[in-house]
């Protein structure tokens, strides 16, 4: 750890050279995190002291430093610490809170959102952050079709238009929408990029550079002293396959209630460790302070924690995301085959039988060492809209759950009822016509999914369904998913707070409506109602009203059993005792990639 201190002091020296000196005094418009303030979600945190280095591990190298052309979390894990947006999802309460904007108003017709930016706050090179940066990022980067930007799709309103961003004055911007769309407020939290550094690379603003130059800007080989951000840390050193070092932004605008500027740590070092077993060894060796651990690590780390001085934290609820298998209700449709099988798959009683035959308890115990929870809804459990709550953001009660309890006897009677019985006496159930019924479930080469599938197949075979399991290459699996050429497919999707962000999956014409693409052309009543509810939920700023729509949506979809949900892992990680405030985390990160720790609020207790 002495080494870390030397490193830290070196970094402080270099950062003084690279950056400016910081604010002379706390800006009037600074953001204050209510650390330790009673009655807030931050009340159990402690005020920290500045200094020290926090060390993480990441499994992959970043692919660049350009936030809006990044396509994967190995890059955004860093750019998200360098940049900030107008609004943020609070780390702990998950509510939308002010960030670069100090406040906002929504017009009476709910179509115009006016943001008031903090005045007197600066980019890491000392340039003021103004409305021009917001306009640049939105109009010239995100909406610019020359730019290879995924977040553009997130801005699309249900009527296929984009919000219109306009400048009122240097510190006021408005976004005007043609239709009411509440999730837009969340989407407008996109990371703002510095116009004074980047405008020169956008062809539209500087015709001297070729089209697409922006896509090749801020790549890994750039001069890192050119990087400018507004988040707590800025990347100051990158060693491929080794580490990324981020140093404090002297102009970060967040403070604690005692007037100490955040972040507390001088620097964060992310070691790039390609193998998870090695990451764990490095954590146990004291080389990394915080480790997003896997279910299989628990048995080793728990007994060692007290001796070595680290804690293992396990969240009590599952993390964001969904895990499911789908029954391809369009099987053979394109080729004109499997008509009878398709008929059976489309019978909701068949799917109910399958759903009653999922031993989620065994899955949680055997596959996840107990570190997972059962899932029934398309909405992630931590979302405030999750229908397992009684009201928006309320505690999880599961009063409204549509759970298909593990009941093989019920599955048997359902299958008997629809005529899927053993006609020829070979021990396997057949289709109503007497033709044999065989089911193949596919997943990719992933130990957790493979183990889960084996449990499913065992349970189905126990009630006489001739199911087999086959691992296929991930890309083949995705081809089957999109080509509707699979049988049963086991996979997972990422999830977030807002149910409408899953519209692409659950809307009957969604590009990932993989259990029944034909629903787009011939939707039934339930499909139509689901489409309607997704729109209604997003079309109101009244959260309780939206919660009502979304609850009905979740219940309908779960009864329809297109995607049949299984279990999702909880979120857990280990941290050394000397890392203050480490017990709070953002569980929406994949543990193996990024710990989700609130680095800007953590501090070194040994200082």
């Amino acid at each position: 750890m002495k080494n870390a201190l030397i490193l830290a002091s070196l970094l402080v020296l270099t950062s003084l050279v690279v950056f400016g000196q910081g604010y002379d005094e706390q800006p009037a418009d600074s953001l204050v995190y209510p650390i330790g303030v009673a009655g807030t979600v931050y009340e159990d945190m402690e005020l920290g002291v500045r200094g020290g280095t926090l060390t993480y591990a990441s499994i992959e190298d970043p692919k660049g430093w350009n936030n809006h052309t990044a396509h994967e979390t190995s890059t955004t894990a860093f750019t998200n610490r360098m940049l900030r947006g107008l609004v943020r999802n609070d780390h702990i309460s998950l509510a939308i809170e002010p960030d670069l904007a100090k406040s906002w108003e929504i017009s009476d017709d709910s179509l115009v959102i006016t943001f008031h930016l903090r005045e007197g706050i600066l980019w890491s090179d000392g340039t003021p952050i103004t409305a021009d940066d917001v306009l640049f990022t939105f109009n010239d980067v995100i909406l610019n079709t020359d730019v290879d930007c995924n977040s553009r799709d997130g801005m699309l309103l249900p009527d296929d238009t984009y919000p219109v961003c306009e400048k009122v004055d240097d510190y006021t911007v408005t976004f005007t929408m043609s239709t009411i769309f509440r999730p837009a407020l969340n989407q407008l939290g996109f990371n703002i990029m510095p116009k004074h550094k980047l405008a020169q690379y956008v062809h539209k603003l500087n015709p001297a550079v070729p089209v697409g130059t922006f896509n090749e800007t801020w790549t890994l080989d750039m001069d890192l002293t050119e990087l400018v951000g507004c988040g707590p840390f800025i990347v100051t050193d990158y060693q491929p396959n080794v580490s990324v070092t981020m140093s404090r932004n002297p102009y970060y605008y967040a403070y604690d209630p005692a007037g100490t500027q955040l972040p507390y740590y001088d620097s964060e070092v992310t070691a790039i460790v390609t193998n998870s077993d090695v990451s764990m060894l490095k954590f146990r060796n004291g080389e990394i302070d915080v480790y997003g651990l896997r279910a299989e690590d628990i048995a080793i780390l728990l007994p060692e924690g007290a001796r070595k001085g680290f804690q293992v934290l396990i969240s009590d609820a599952p993390a964001f995301g969904t895990t499911w298998f789908l029954v391809n209700m369009d099987i053979g449709l394109a080729e004109g085959t499997d008509a009878e099988k398709r008929e059976v798959y489309r019978n909701v009683k068949f799917r109910e039988a399958m759903a009653h035959c999922i031993d989620k308890e065994t899955m949680v115990r055997n596959v996840f060492n107990g570190l997972a929870g059962a899932q029934w809804s398309p909405v992630s459990v931590p979302s405030p809209f999750y229908a397992g709550r009684d009201y928006y953001g309320g505690p999880i009660t599961e009063n409204n759950a549509v759970a298909f309890e593990y009941d093989p006897a019920k599955a048997v009677s359902l299958l008997d009822e629809i005529g899927v019985v053993d006609a020829d006496g070979d021990g396997w159930r057949d289709l109503p016509s007497g033709d044999p019924l065989t089911i193949e479930i596919n997943t990719n080469d992933n130990t957790i999914r493979t183990a889960s599938c084996l449990i499913l197949v065992d349970d189905w075979r126990a009630i006489g369904v001739n199911a087999t399991f086959q691992v296929v290459d991930f890309n083949t699996l995705v081809d089957r998913l999109f080509g509707a050429s699979g049988d049963f497919i086991y996979l997972g999707l990422t999830g977030g707070n807002e149910p409408n962000s899953g519209a692409n999956v659950y809307n009957s014409c969604g590009s990932l409506h993989a259990y029944r693409y034909s629903a787009c052309d011939e939707p039934d009543e339930i499909d139509l109602r689901i489409d309607e509810l997704l729109g209604l939920g997003a079309g109101t700023f009244d959260l309780d009203e939206a919660f009502g729509y979304y609850t009905e949506y979740q219940q309908l979809l779960s009864r329809q059993l297109g995607y049949i949900y299984t279990v999702v892992p909880t979120f857990q990680y280990g941290y050394y005792d000397y890392v203050g405030n480490a017990f709070k985390s953002q569980p929406d990160r994949t543990p193996s990639r990024y710990t989700g720790l609130l680095g800007e609020l953590c501090f070194d207790k040994r200082l």
Binding site: K63, D148, N215, P240, N241, N275, V278, N285, F474, A503
Partner: protein, 330 residues
């Protein structure tokens, strides 16, 4: 000799062309492409995907894609950009001294392998069928048969969990402590590199040593049974003179040839070890490209490894002519 080397170098070009065509075909046969992951992201629309397909030219016929790839290399020396990092492919592969580390690890391992394998082979041959011969042979085969990834993990586990090296401020994996990267070369840095390199040498080195030991042993045994060795002994030379000055000199020739051939193996064959031991090598960045189906980088990586293979063969032929006066290429 010079004309021979020039001729051989020219032969490499058509060979590399064939390699590139086969590699390109294999990449295209693989299911899915660079955008497969993106297709599973519910936030990305069809239009965006189509834009990307156009940008990367992924929907053009296979032979057209190959033609453009080849044309850019021949006319502009442009091997393309990485889809992933938006940097030129060789920068993506070699960035951060990866090439230097790859060559350093390969050459130092090779040196150590020979430094240990030759004396052990000689010892083994001169002590044929004695218990000590069996013991060294046994350990040689042990090194050969333990999978590298497993050996590497066990080593790290021993260091961390059994010997608690963390208590002494020592770190594991990588080629040095993170703080030394980019720092000037000092004695502290050299010692630190040595501490990190010994597991690398042990894991990669032992996997190839058994073969060398057996080869040295077999050759020496053959040579020792030749009439000129009997003559040497008959004229009363001391045993060590017979073995080292007369027999070993002749028995070592095939090992020199193999030196050239093992070089490419060390470069491309140590990827698995590099993953576990976190070595910043070309193999690791190539592996990352494979995982993401970053086509241009995979192609560049394959060509790079093929070039090493061809150079290794050339080196082998050259060395053979050098050590064995009977061989003439002209």
């Amino acid at each position: 000799m010079l004309t021979y080397i020039i001729r051989r170098t020219l032969y490499m070009l058509p060979l590399l062309l064939v390699v590139s065509l086969i590699s390109f075909t294999l990449i295209k046969i693989m299911p899915g492409d660079f955008l497969t992951q993106a297709r599973l992201n519910p936030q990305i629309t069809e239009e965006t995907l189509q834009q990307q397909i156009d940008r990367f030219g992924l929907d053009r016929p296979f032979i057209v894609q190959y033609w453009y790839w080849l044309k850019n290399i021949v006319t502009r020396g442009d091997f393309g950009m990485s889809f992933d990092t938006k940097m030129p492919v060789f920068k993506t592969l070699f960035m951060g001294n990866r090439l230097q580390w790859t060559i350093f690890i390969a050459l130092s391992t090779l040196l150590l392998q020979y430094l240990f394998a030759i004396p052990i082979g000689i010892y083994s041959a001169t002590h044929q069928y004695k218990p000590s011969d069996h013991i060294v042979t046994f350990f040689g085969f042990l090194g050969l048969s333990i999978p590298n990834f497993f050996f590497a993990l066990v080593l790290l586990w021993l260091l961390v969990v059994v010997f608690h090296v963390g208590n002494f401020g020592l770190t594991v994996a990588g080629v040095m402590d993170m703080r030394y990267y980019g720092a000037p070369l000092t004695w502290g840095k050299i010692v630190n590199i040595l501490w990190h390199m010994w597991p690398v040498w042990l894991v990669i080195g032992t996997s190839g040593m058994a073969g060398l030991i057996r080869l040295m042993r077999g050759n020496l045994l053959d040579t020792l049974s030749l009439p000129y060795v009997k003559t040497a002994r008959a004229k009363g030379l001391r045993e060590w003179v017979v073995v080292y000055k007369h027999a070993v000199r002749n028995a070592i020739n095939p090992l020199v040839t193999i030196l050239g051939l093992s070089l490419p193996n060390l470069v491309s064959g140590s990827i698995v070890t590099a993953i576990i031991l976190n070595l910043p090598t070309v193999g690791l960045s190539y592996f990352a490209a494979l995982q993401r189906q970053d086509e241009n980088v995979i192609m560049a990586g394959l060509l790079f490894f093929s070039l090493f293979l061809l150079l290794g063969n050339l080196l082998a032929d050259f060395l053979l002519a050098w050590v064995d006066p009977r061989i003439r290429y002209d």
